[in-house]
Amino acid sequence: MITRPPVTLTSALAVVGLTPEELESKLGAVLDEGEPYVVGSLASGFGNSASDVDVHVLVPGLEEPARPQLHFAGEVAVDVERYPAHWPADLITSARSAGVARLECGDIALETPLGSRSRRWASRWPYAVPVRDSPPIFDSDGMAALLPLLVRAAFDQVVMFAATARLADAAGAPGPARSQLWSRAERHLLELRCRAAGEVTTGQKWLPNRVRRLELAAVPPTGTAAGFAVARAEAGVPVVDEWELVTVRPAAGARAQTLAGRRYLVNRHDTLLGEWSEFTGTLAAAVAQLGAARVLAAVHRAELDVAVDGDAVRKALA
């Protein structure tokens, strides 16, 4: 279950030297448009003097998020975003539609009905602090429905980075690079443990504070495949073949173009590649066909993209 930290509007704003009255006076009419909430690190019980104040206003009648606005209360940046008032209920309905598997690490959604943008709100709204006398955005049932989705998102990241680190190993990448990628995978395991324990604060820099709040025993990453396997077992995360759960496909935003009779792939960073692959399939198949070093180079230079295959994960977890 997601547990709300003991944060009030006064305590959240005090971190950046503001009072509720100052926020009201600065934003005024914006807050009258709907139900306003402070979200983000301050609402999560973290933040410091450099933090922005993030305000989300749930506006009745709105069908799409409005363009964010930046305000200032003295020197403090206040980001205001407006969202349709019905979105929280829609999120919970979507969350409830997902099947759930009970794993040692906790409940995990078998489907991922929320896109990456929706997940961002889903993980910010559980800790939302009302600016006025509004109820919490999610009740306890809603929070219970959301958590497996947030755990699943973390699991997908574990799969992705373990797959990438394995690829770097197979490609014979330099030792420091391989170590860095395995450390990244181990870090995502820690993120998964935090979420499974009900701590869903967003913002990667807050991970140590979250670990401390949960009093998790967190050993430093080893930067090795063996260390990752140990950490995965201790986290209660099932063993999967990451290369079968990750797909490879032509990179988004790339297009083939001809210049003076020569063909190039112009990738999304506007780099011209003289040769390229259009492979589509699992990472395991890509490595078998092209070789690990070639696949690693192709992902590195935005020639091919990798993504977690949701259906393959569902089958692996079910």
Partner: protein, 162 residues
Amino acid sequence: MTEFDGTWVVTHGAHMAWRYARSVQPALADMRAALDAGNWALCVESCALALRAIVFCHHVGEGVSGSPTEVELQLLLALDERPAAVALRDLPWSVHANETDARAAVDAVERHDEELRAALPFDMPVIRTAGGYGPTVRVTATVGKWRADRGMGPVSWNREGL
């Protein structure tokens, strides 16, 4: 002797300065606030975000446009041999960081930030401050004029995070 290619300044150089303002400046502010608060773990985390942004800024200056995917960015950071990337990989484990770790990490960031700033064609104002909006508009307008002088269209500033 400072010298820049004019076309580079209004193309990759301008995007590099913009990326610096969008991604490096906020990480530096977070790093200093965490140091002042004695939150060593957060300080090391902020140093990691600053170094990551510094490395990517160098790539923008070399002509990389748009934003990388998360996997692509992590590969770039893992495989890059420039000193800022090596410093990133050498950061201590943040969760158990102490004051000595944090101060050493801040020193590394400040060294690489100084090196990066020397490579920027101009200083972009700190954009997320109360007084930053007007100067930012003036700088971007000047870049637009310089581009027009060279027969180029308006800049498409990348407003995505890193």
